[in-house]
């Protein structure tokens, strides 16, 4: 499936970095990926450029295959996706 602009969002590792999740552990252990991307000294290398005034994206074409794989489960449900 594709958008009208023929682009899909780049997969992101959505973790904000630099935060110690567990007290007592070394800070160097816990560096989130999105935090690393957002730091000034490490420019973001994925995703589209920041939106600018007047930007118009081109129309897309074609369909992209799913980037996620599902299987028939082999155990009872652990959780439920539901509306909130």
């Amino acid at each position: 499936m594709t958008t009208e602009r023929g682009r899909r969002p780049r997969r992101r590792h959505a973790a904000a970095g630099g935060r110690i999740l567990i007290g007592g552990l070394s800070a160097s252990v816990l560096v989130g990926l999105i935090g690393a991307m957002a730091r000034a000294e490490r420019p973001v290398t994925t995703g589209p450029p920041p939106a600018v005034a007047g930007a118009t994206a081109p129309a897309g074409s074609g369909r992209l295959p799913p980037t996620v794989r599902v299987t028939r489960p082999t155990s009872p449900p652990t959780t439920t996706s539901h509306a909130s």
Binding site: A16, V44, T71, T79
Partner: protein, 307 residues
């Protein structure tokens, strides 16, 4: 070993599972979900997002998490051709969703009409003029633009927290916030994480149950979060093109994607577009839809495992 925590968060209930790893990981994850809500909630006056929304025209330096939220929201707006639009906040307030509404099942909660500002534009202005300064980690919202995190925050929080758990050594984790969830790594049992998807019209069985190794699942429907305004039924899924609750035959949309934030954004896009799963035009995801007549459609990959 599996450890679970369940607690209120982001207007619903959060459920976190950590399989293996240090026993302190679970409590850290819970605190992190709460931390993200405190940064992003539009119902908290001192949240980063609320302060950003009150600062039109000014470059506001925000935390990495909040910058990521805005950046992903703009990306989602762009990738869905504006069908997902985080700038619907004024329209949401005008429709009556100006406070933390209680969930309803059955009889809608009744609220009075929300006051409208003179000359208020309901059509969402879009993200085209939002400026993101990555070097300074600053966001500038133009006048008239306010962001609603409601269509992306739960999924993004689930992505962030499971990512941090993985970085901290958790062999596997699941974060489900209000039904929008992300799984990573080793499940507590079986070959993959087993996830049921709620059927919007039936309580006796799920719409489907799927196995997922790594990815996100999000579900939106117009039946749960609804109310009455000026004698008319309203729901929270705003069509950015009109500024009013979307008119659609669809009652529920579920999306499975590589990331939970994209799954959540895509549910809004599919719902606003109004087309069933067979004609859903969103990139790289699996879709299941249910319409008002109870007709279910699914992407072929979902239909195969649901059969």
């Amino acid at each position: 070993m599996r450890r679970d925590a369940t607690f209120p968060a982001m207007g619903g209930e959060a459920h976190v599972i950590v399989t293996g790893g240090d026993h302190r990981l679970l409590d850290g994850a819970r605190r992190r979900v709460v931390d993200l809500e405190e940064r992003w909630s539009r119902f908290l006056d001192d949240s980063e997002l609320s302060r950003l929304n009150r600062s039109p025209g000014r470059a506001v330096v925000v935390s990495p998490e909040t910058f990521a939220l805005v950046e992903h929201a703009v990306e989602g707006w762009d990738a869905t051709a504006g069908r997902y639009d985080p700038t619907v906040l004024p329209a949401l307030r005008a429709a009556g969703y100006d406070r933390d509404l209680a969930l309803v099942t059955g009889t809608p909660a009744v609220t009075g009409p929300a006051p409208r500002r003179p000359g208020h534009q309901l059509v969402a202005p879009g993200c085209g003029l939002i400026r993101l300064d990555r070097r300074r980690r600053a966001v500038t919202l133009p006048a008239g633009v306010e962001l609603d995190p409601g269509g992306i925050a739960k999924g993004l929080a689930a992505d962030i927290v499971t990512g941090e758990l993985a970085a901290a050594g958790a062999p596997g984790s699941m974060v489900n916030i209000g039904g929008d969830l992300r799984v990573r790594g080793e499940p507590p049992e079986g070959d993959s994480w087993s996830i049921a998807v709620e059927h919007p019209l039936r309580r006796d069985r799920p719409l489907l149950t799927l196995g997922l190794d790594d990815g996100g699942v999000a579900t939106s429907n117009r039946l749960r979060r609804r109310w009455i305004q000026d004698g008319r039924p309203r729901h929270h899924l705003i069509d950015p093109r009109s500024g009013h609750p979307a008119v659609s035959d669809l009652v529920a949309v579920t999306v499975v994607a590589a990331d939970a934030w994209w799954a959540e954004v895509a549910t809004k896009s599919v719902f606003v577009a109004g087309a069933p799963a067979s004609r859903a035009d969103v990139s790289g995801v699996l879709v299941a839809t249910v319409d008002a007549a109870g007709t279910v459609e699914m992407s072929p990959e979902l239909a195969r495992i649901a059969a």
